[in-house]
């Protein structure tokens, strides 16, 4: 494996994380720069720099023929896709396989099977993994919906087939509510998606998003690296993650159950890399398969922190057929607690993206903090890329210690010149139900921590900003 040349076809903090692992393992990390990001900070960690021509993602990180050309020109042996972009693209992984290039990720069949939502659910079901109960296919009439409601038990969700993002769906608690809502959801579906067909699904109250990290080698060994709770979300995107899950807590039976179920899912598609099986868990701790992400995930660091397993390095080793760092599931144990905050360039109240240019950046962290990021003074966050610019991760002996550390770290994180969600995180980290660990995916919508963010800091904060400008001018 040593000396192999690996192209990182990604940017930002994940490109840095991957480059670090490649360098450490003795491989050659090859990074790219594009015309709409000519000075990407990830090149700091890449041993070689290649120009990927183009000024938007379609011309660069998504352009398979162009990437294949670079692979040929620069004698690349393997590719790490990071997350997003081509990380779960069947065509890309198949093209690489045909050319004999190592894809640092699962085999193309696993990518395909888990990539298609309906296929992945069928596979999970066939493997004996619970999926959210509901109709098989479209539901045409109110009567049919009521029948299913009584079969699977209320509450149920009436949902547009083409739906997503909260539109075209309504919960119903009994037959009467189905009758009252059916036509309305159909109309909503038609107007929003141009297609009126509905599905019926069990409605899970105050659900938890819990996912299980999988790590597998090319010899059929599939391990789980325990779970993460990612229930703090806005716009169906995670902003805070924890490991282990405070909701599962000390219930080792449920923990074992969900983790081994994830292994079952992964084995069902002959999974052979790092990946994540996502579940939805109800208040009764019953869980249902949602999907499997066939890539390294944003929130992988919290799992690394509590288990000591270097997921990215092991993912690379797996891809090149090297043995993993462990030989049995028993070697992987949870140790302490980790919390990750996604630091995003966005308005802390509206939570809408807010690109811009960083003009000041300082960190003063306690012990036990990891900050995976791509920020530097003068860094410009363009509308082209994801607004997530860093991940602040704290590890502690227990949840209380981790919380104490991440709170102190957040107070020591200063990013000037752009809006960030730091003020929002500050509110959440001191909010009672979060501190107690008693939250579900309904958190942001119900508790509304964003309403407690002051739109503007006090006058002293402005004095500090003015002083920072004046002092900086003095020193240069």
């Amino acid at each position: 494996m040593k000396g192999k040349r690996v192209l990182i076809i990604n940017r930002g903090e994940i490109a840095i994380r991957v480059a670090k692992a490649l360098n450490e393992l003795g491989l050659v990390s090859v990074g790219v720069w594009t015309d709409n990001e000519t000075e990407p900070p990830h090149l700091e960690y890449c041993q070689e720099w290649v120009h990927l021509e183009g000024s938007n993602n379609k011309e660069t990180y998504l352009d398979i023929p162009k990437i294949m050309k670079i692979i040929e020109d620069y004698k690349i042996d393997g590719v790490h896709p990071g997350y997003g972009f081509l990380s779960e693209n069947r065509e890309f992984s198949e093209t690489l396989a045909k050319k004999g290039i190592t894809f640092i990720g699962p085999n193309p069949t696993a990518v395909y099977k888990m990539g298609a939502k309906d296929i992945s659910k069928q596979i999970a079901k066939a493997a004996g993994v619970p999926v959210v109960p509901g109709s098989v296919g479209e539901v045409a009439t109110i009567e049919e919906a009521i029948k299913i409601g009584n079969e699977i038990g209320y509450p149920i969700l009436l949902k547009a087939v083409a739906g997503g993002g909260g539109k075209g769906m309504r919960p119903c608690a009994n037959d009467a509510e189905v009758k009252a809502n059916f036509a309305a959801v159909q109309r909503e579906a038609l107007s929003s998606f141009g297609y009126a067909a509905l599905l019926v699904e069990k409605y899970i109250l105050n659900p938890h998003h819990i996912e299980v990290q999988i790590l597998a080698d090319k010899k059929g060994n599939v391990y789980h690296v325990f779970e993460r709770e990612c229930s703090i979300q806005r716009r169906h995107q995670k902003i805070i993650e924890e490991a282990p899950s405070p909701f599962i807590g000390t219930d080792e039976k449920v923990r074992q159950d969900i983790c081994m179920t994830a292994v079952k899912c992964a084995k069902a598609v002959d999974y052979d890399s790092a990946g994540t099986v996502e579940f939805i868990m109800g208040e009764d701790k019953k869980f249902y398969f949602l999907e499997m992400n066939t890539r390294i995930q944003v929130e992988h660091p919290i799992t690394e922190e509590i288990t000591g397993v270097d997921l990215v390095a092991n993912m690379i080793k797996s891809a090149f057929g090297e043995p993993l760092d462990f030989k049995s599931q028993d070697e992987i144990v949870i140790h302490g607690h980790a919390i990750e905050l996604r630091i995003c360039a966005e308005d802390p109240i509206t939570m809408l993206p807010a690109p811009g240019k960083v003009v000041g950046f300082e960190t003063t962290f306690p012990q036990g903090i990891r900050f995976d990021h791509c920020i530097y003074p003068k860094y410009t966050i363009t509308p082209d890329f994801d607004p997530m610019i860093g991940k602040l991760i704290a590890k502690g002996f227990n949840r209380e210690v981790a919380l104490r550390k991440v709170r102190n770290a957040l107070d020591g994180l200063v990013i000037e010149g752009i809006k960030t969600n730091i003020p929002l995180h500050k509110v959440i980290l001191r909010e009672e139900t979060f501190v107690k660990g008693e939250y579900s995916t309904a958190y942001i919508g119900k508790i509304k921590p964003q309403d407690k963010v002051a739109p503007k800091e006090d006058m002293k904060a402005f004095m500090v900003k003015v002083a920072a400008v004046e002092m900086n001018g003095r020193n240069s």
């Binding site: 308005d347 802390p348 109240i349 509206t350 809408l352 993206p353 807010a354 690109p355 811009g356 240019k357 003009v359 000041g360 950046f361 300082e362 003063t364 003074p377 003068k378 363009t382 509308p383 082209d384 994801d386 607004p387 200063v414 000037e416 010149g417 752009i418 809006k419 003020p423 963010v453 002051a454 739109p455 503007k456 800091e457 006058m459 002293k460 904060a461 402005f462 004095m463 500090v464 900003k465 003015v466 002083a467 920072a468 400008v469 004046e470 002092m471 900086n472 001018g473 020193n475």
Partner: protein
């Protein structure tokens, strides 16, 4: 030295600062506040009481200053006269973005509320609508162009 801050709603306030070697004296609404400053090991620090110190970020002079959810234009030492030029007919970017589509050309008639162009900011498309009835007088952008915050894209003559 007077600093003028102007937010997106054109609300403004001022902060006076007298810069000395070891301390700054601020005046805001007639109230004076002293701040001590020190450089140590290549970094700058401030203190309101002379004993408790905190780090100052290396903050470059910038026209824009962000405070939680509000964005302020900063004018150091002067207050530009034409501050309020941004009337209903001036379409100014509120955040950086990229022009996806121009719906009008020069001389076109537009009515209040009509979409004039589409601006993409972080994967989301925003319809930029005219604030007045009138005629397109100037177009300072083209499709595909990336814009900073506070950029005057289009002017409409009422």
């Amino acid at each position: 030295m007077r600093y003028h801050f102007l937010n997106q709603d054109m609300k403004e306030f001022a902060l006076d600062v007298e810069v000395n070697k070891d301390a700054f004296e601020f005046t805001s609404d007639g109230e004076k506040t002293k701040m001590f400053v020190k450089t140590l090991a290549g970094k700058n620090y401030y203190s309101f009481d002379g004993t408790s110190w905190k780090k100052l970020p290396a903050l470059g002079v910038n026209e824009v200053l962000v405070s939680n959810s509000e964005v302020f234009k900063v004018y150091r030492g002067f207050k530009p006269s034409g501050l309020n030029k941004g009337g209903a007919g001036a379409l100014i970017t509120q955040m950086p973005g990229k022009v996806v589509k121009l719906m009008k050309t020069l001389g076109d008639k537009v009515s209040k509320g009509e979409t004039v162009l589409i601006l993409e900011a972080m994967k989301m498309e925003n319809e930029i609508k005219s604030g007045a009835d009138g005629v397109i007088k100037t177009i300072n952008v083209k499709e595909g162009q990336a814009l900073d915050s506070g950029f005057l894209m289009i002017e409409i003559e009422e």
